[in-house]
């Protein structure tokens, strides 16, 4: 049995369409089987509500008198991109305010959708056709010609979950990660998420009409970084028609601004295969838990995991139970599925056939870089001392060699570090004795293959000026100092 989109739309017009949410569909297919379910059900609504950084909006502000060709533009001190026509600009959700902390493009978008005014400020170089060089005014959504939400990457089909093996708390775009595998966070709504219910992208494609933050929106194509089964969508919708309850500005502490976006997509049940697809369960949707404790692009995989385990609130890592936070709202996703179901049932929302398919294959390539500078290329020979060296002797070595840091080594293993400041302190306090008594024992160190940016961030975060370079057995191979690094950057 095969249905067409047009037949389903006819049923919507006549008011006898059968719409169920993705959550309900699982039960129906389990009870009736895919064939029968496909006969009974016409549309399945899916939903997701999560922090989607790759979001933003295009604006056309209208022309001022005298006119201005905006070269730089700010909305509530959040800069928008205006390298396009005179009064067009794109405000990114993740762009930060230049004056207000923990405020970004997403917050500006939320204020506008709530009907508030925001300050528009622009500067320009002035031309014969656009003589004006500066403007400051207040605008609301009513005042602008167009306000189009256009999100390059939304609705991730599935996403890597996050944890943290390191001994410090990490504040990331996956939320706050407690040290020593203290928690796990994940994103995506699993079995009710749009793309998981149409994994071959048969009905979700270019031109698909969707529910976007309370308004009708459209899929424009696959999103950036689309790499099935980690599929993504690029979407657009009219910001002026959106409802504040289906979006929310957010700020992930220590990371930055982002926007919670609510998306609902109706899946037409054209045949038994579509019924089978929409019956997918969380236990069948797999992802990986990766370790953010390693600040590299290719973070180590801690383990594989299903959405069922993640949603249960607890997962096991190295034999221990670890608590889990979703970062997507299942409450809101459910609300969106139900709202879309209601709109279709009332004949307010019609389905579309895709104008074009989105790719079912794709790879997410790393950046082409000239080279990745690693610590090995900047480290210098380290002069090490034993913990039994006297303070006086250590001071003499520093002066003789013209250095400020001496890694302390015992039996070939790094056990401490001493700086010229430590020596100065000991002298000021008239302390005599050996290095063991005054050395720092908790040494922050690096490895020869660590990128210099990671080493630099370690120094910055810990407010120190050098890192011993060690191998996996903590044998000292060299030292890298902030001076060496700044010389590298200055080049």
């Amino acid at each position: 049995m095969v249905k067409t989109i047009e037949e389903i739309n006819q049923k919507i017009r006549e008011g006898n369409v059968v719409v169920v949410t993705a959550a309900e569909m699982k039960e129906i297919v389990e009870e009736l089987g895919a064939e029968k379910a496909a006969k009974e059900v016409d549309v399945v609504t899916t939903g997701t509500f999560g922090a989607m950084c790759s979001s933003g909006a295009f604006f056309n502000f209208g022309h001022s008198d005298p006119p201005i060709k905006m070269q730089r533009v700010w909305m509530n001190d959040v800069e928008a991109y205006t390298g396009i026509a005179a009064v067009d600009a794109y405000l990114g959700a993740a762009q930060l305010s230049e004056t207000v902390e923990e405020y970004g493009g997403s917050h500006v978008i939320e204020e506008l959708v709530k009907g508030r005014e925001v300050e528009l400020r622009a500067t320009a170089y002035g031309t014969d056709c656009y003589p004006r060089k500066e403007i400051v005014t207040e605008i609301s959504l009513e005042d602008v010609n167009q306000a189009v939400m256009l999100n390059p990457r939304n609705a991730y089909q599935r996403y890597n979950a996050a944890t943290n093996s390191s001994d410090r708390l990490l504040r990331t775009y996956m939320g706050t990660l407690l040290p020593n595998f203290g928690n796990v966070t994940f994103a995506g709504t699993g079995e009710i998420s749009p793309l998981n219910n149409d994994p071959e992208y048969r009905t979700i494609g270019v031109g698909t009409r969707i529910f976007l933050c309370g308004a009708k929106g459209y899929v424009i194509g696959e999103g950036t970084q689309h790499a099935p089964p980690y599929g993504t969508l690029m979407v657009k919708g009219n910001l002026k028609e959106m409802k504040p309850e289906y979006m929310k500005a957010a700020f992930f502490p220590g990371y930055g601004a982002t926007l919670f976006v609510g998306i609902g997509i109706p899946i037409p049940i054209l045949d038994a295969d579509m019924a089978r697809f929409t019956a997918v369960r969380n236990s069948q949707i797999e992802t990986k838990i990766i370790d953010f404790g390693v600040a590299r692009r290719d973070r180590p995989v801690v383990r594989k995991v299903t959405y069922e385990e993640l949603i249960s609130g607890k997962v096991e890592i190295n034999g221990e139970e670890v608590r889990v936070s979703p970062l997507s709202s299942f409450y809101m996703a459910e609300k969106i599925m139900k709202e879309l179901k209601r709109e279709i049932g009332r004949g307010e929302f019609f389905l579309t056939a895709p104008v074009d398919r989105i790719p079912t294959k794709g790879v997410f390539k790393p950046m082409r870089q000239k080279e990745i500078k690693v610590v090995k290329s900047v480290m210098v020979e380290a002069h090490t001392i034993s913990p039994d060296t006297t303070i006086e002797e250590a001071a003499r070595i520093m002066i003789d060699k013209g250095i400020n840091h001496l890694p302390v080594v015992e039996k070939d293993v790094l056990v401490g570090i001493i700086t010229s400041w430590d020596i100065a302190k000991a002298v000021a306090r008239k302390r005599k004795g050996v290095i063991r008594e005054i050395m720092t024992r908790k040494v922050i160190y690096t490895h020869p293959d660590e990128p210099v940016e990671v080493a630099a961030r370690k120094m910055e975060k810990n407010d120190i000026s050098a890192l011993p370079v060690v191998d996996s057995r903590k044998k000292v191979l060299g030292i890298v100092t902030s001076e060496d690094l700044s010389r590298l950057i200055a080049r």
Binding site: F251, P253, S325
Partner: protein
């Protein structure tokens, strides 16, 4: 009842809790303590019936006392129920209910503020 005690540079040096226990004969459960050289904050739990008595003794010794009747406050307009706070809460006072909404259990909350710091929509705040 939970009582939040604030100590200044003088009271922080005194064994005020032991005094309160000895005088009232009440067991005092310390839920959270952050005591420095010049000031401190301790969250205690005492039997409801004895709370007033303990409070009076502490106040007499110069300790600021606040009765904590509620959990961390949640702004329902801002909360999107993402649950970023759920795995952060050390006492498992934050959970999902049957509707998948984030709810707070005042009984378990020790007002540590860990959730306040991680909330992406700034929906959480400490009542004091």
């Amino acid at each position: 009842m939970k009582l939040l005690l604030r100590f200044d540079s003088k009271t922080v040096k005194e064994p005020v809790l032991s005094k309160a226990t000895l005088k009232t004969g009440t067991l005092i459960n310390i839920l959270r303590a952050s005591v420095g050289a010049r000031r401190g904050e301790i969250l205690i739990e005492v039997d409801d019936k004895k709370a007033k008595e303990v409070e009076d003794i502490l106040k007499k010794q110069g300790v600021e006392v606040f009765e904590l009747l509620e959990a961390v406050q949640k702004d329902e307009e801002r909360c999107v129920h993402c649950g970023a706070c759920v795995s952060i809460c050390p006492t498992e006072a934050i959970t999902f209910n049957g509707e998948k909404r984030v709810i707070l259990d005042a009984e378990r909350c020790v007002h540590c503020g860990a959730c306040v710091k991680v909330c992406p929509t700034r929906a959480l705040s400490l009542p004091l």
